[in-house]
């Protein structure tokens, strides 16, 4: 029968080994050769857009890469799906954007800020998400092509 000492060795050994593997995999998957995000395209405008995205807690309603709050649409492919002008219009609206009855906060953004957010979405739209980008609703390019 297992002794307390053996049980402790199992705990400590298992933890150390899996933690080391985890660190190894992290280093490997974040290495330059494995980059799926086109990190070279992260421009100043994309970074400013990301800050605006965070400052307004957009993730508190929307999702991006499937992460967020499921109250408002997924935005991974939003530029392909809606086009730049539409997205800018939503962000610059002085009254709450309201579609099918669900209200968005009226951000009343300047054109420059809205453009930065658009650049952020464009970068996000080109990240290789291991297939999720083709599933996430509503389908962007594929759906538009199917409809035509």
């Amino acid at each position: 029968m297992l002794s307390k000492k053996q049980a402790r060795a199992f705990f400590l050994g298992g933890t150390v080994v899996t933690f080391l593997i985890f660190i190894g995999l992290t280093v490997y998957s974040l290495s330059k050769a494995q980059d799926q995000t086109h990190s070279e395209n992260i421009t100043e405008a994309v970074i400013r857009g990301k800050h605006i995205w965070e400052k307004n807690n957009c993730m508190g309603c929307h999702t991006l890469f499937g992460e967020g709050a499921y109250y408002a649409p997924e935005l991974t492919k939003v530029i392909e799906r809606r086009g730049e002008a539409y997205v800018k219009g939503v962000l610059m609206s002085p009254v709450p954007w309201q579609i099918n009855g669900r209200k968005m906060v009226a951000y009343n953004m300047s054109e420059a800020d809205a453009l930065d957010v658009v650049e952020f979405f464009k970068w996000a739209g080109n990240v290789d998400l291991n297939g999720f980008e083709h599933v996430v609703s509503p389908l962007a390019k594929e759906k538009i092509e199917a409809n035509n």
């Binding site: 899996t18 490997y28 974040l30 997924e74 609703s137």
Partner: protein, 446 residues
């Protein structure tokens, strides 16, 4: 109660109860917004309500864990807490961080990163707070008469939880990297080190309530926390499937997160077996209900419902839908909410000297909150599965789908009402116990 300084726990739990009430209130605001009743939108838009709801969850649980540590560590170490006045300072700073953060969220003062919305200046106050807490706990533990496995596991969980807060404070330009390290905090907390805290509290409660030998209970505690880390650390990979990192995580995350239910299954079997082996003579039956309930529901909520959407083939479709909310609600409730309520139910009679455990109110609190939360889980589950099919398989537009599944949120609100009534009963009991007092030093059942 064996040591006067254990009374500090009471004040942390009182803060917990207050924050839980607020958390539920903001949950209702979100539930009503989902069925179109968003009259508060101008003052409390959904993203504010959501940040408040999830952050209050974290803070009330942490406050509950800290209370548990202040109760358990002196008893395990067989000495009074060192510097009890500093513990009150720590309580005040914790309440200050919580309240300031929540008010800030109403004025767009946040970081906008799911679960870690607390703005940077407040993060440093969190660091100060946690360091002070750990200092007091570890100092007490290492100057005590004995160092038990239960106390070590609990303290180790709290220490790692503090260390793991740090990766969340690193700034990244890439959303993918941001997300990657955000999960180091969130996942490794709730599916890693928090389970150590839960295991430590569970072990303490089982030793006290069942009378089974400490050596037996603590041996299995090691096995359980061993299984937790063995599966949970690499199980982090299930958050990396679709955020823009290598496919290797589909395999690693898939395999190891599929093993995660084993730790919870072991926890449930452990608790039930210890109960069956035990004397069954402890009068505080309601504390036993909460303890066994926590072990069993954490297996259902965190283990089974987590497994239901953790395989990459399934998660490809359910990722970013309400299926996650289904799993999240029962997992947090079973594993962490209930264990905090369990230790409180056990400790309050000892702290106050009033034996109010065998009352109708205490039983109603248990049953109504649990039935309510299970009902909420089912409502979220049905909404989530419907959403997954309509959106991801039939390619319907997001808002069209939201209108289709609105009805499930009416069920959610009804079930949440039942849950809230249960919690109200719990808080009434809490108030009825009154304040902790030194006379209770001799009145303890154990």
């Amino acid at each position: 109660m064996k040591y006067k300084t254990q009374k500090i726990a009471y004040w942390f739990w009182a803060l917990s109860m207050l924050l839980l009430v607020l958390q539920i209130t903001y949950g209702f605001i979100m539930g009503f917004a989902r069925i179109g009743m968003d009259g508060l939108h101008e003052f409390i838009p959904f993203n504010t309500a959501r940040a408040v709801h999830t952050n209050l969850l974290v803070v009330w649980l942490l406050s509950g864990f800290m209370g548990a540590a202040y109760y358990i560590i002196p008893e395990e170490a067989q000495r009074d807490l060192v510097r009890p006045k500093l513990a009150f300072l720590q309580l005040i700073s914790l309440a200050l961080v919580g309240v300031t953060a929540i008010i800030g969220y109403h004025f767009n003062w946040w970081e906008g990163r799911k679960f870690l919305e607390i703005p940077r200046p407040l993060d440093w106050l969190v660091v100060f707070n946690v360091l002070l807490f750990l200092g007091l706990i570890l100092w007490t533990l290492f100057t005590g008469k004995r160092r038990t496995t239960t106390a070590l596991v609990l303290s180790m969980g709290l220490l790692f939880a503090a260390l793991l807060y740090l990766p969340g404070m690193i700034d990244f330009d890439s959303q993918t990297l941001d997300s990657f390290f955000r999960w180091w905090v969130v996942h490794l907390w709730v599916e890693g080190v928090w389970e150590l805290i839960m295991g430590g509290i569970l072990s303490f409660l089982l030793i006290k309530l069942t009378g089974v030998d400490r050596e037996v209970i603590e041996k299995w505690l090691y096995v359980i926390v061993g299984l937790t880390f063995l599966s949970g650390i690499l199980g982090t990979g299930h958050h990396y499937y679709y955020i823009g990192v290598n496919k290797i995580w589909l395999i690693v995350g898939g395999i190891f997160s599929a093993l995660e239910p084993l730790a919870f299954l072991a926890m449930a079997l452990f608790a039930v077996n210890m109960y069956r082996k035990g004397e069954k003579s402890h009068p505080n039956k309601i504390a036993l209900y909460w303890t066994l309930g926590s072990a069993i529901l954490s297996f259902v909520g965190a283990g089974l419902l987590g497994f239901a959407h953790t395989l990459p083939q399934v998660n490809l479709y359910t990722h970013g839908t309400l299926v996650t909310a289904m799993h999240g609600h029962l997992a947090f409730w079973g594993a962490y909410g209930m264990i905090v309520l369990a230790i409180m139910s056990y400790a309050l009679p000892n702290l106050t000297g009033r034996k109010l455990y065998d009352t109708a109110g205490a039983r109603l609190a248990f049953w109504l909150s649990n039935i309510g939360l299970l009902g909420m889980t089912i409502a979220f589950g049905v909404a989530g599965v419907a959403q997954t099919y309509l959106e991801r398989r039939f390619k319907m537009e997001f808002m069209q789908v939201q209108n289709e599944i609105k009805v499930h949120f009416i069920v959610l609100i009804l079930m949440a009402t039942l849950f809230a009534i249960g919690i109200t009963y719990y808080i009434i009991q809490f108030v009825k116990y009154g304040l902790p007092n030194d006379e209770a030093l001799e009145a303890e059942t154990n």
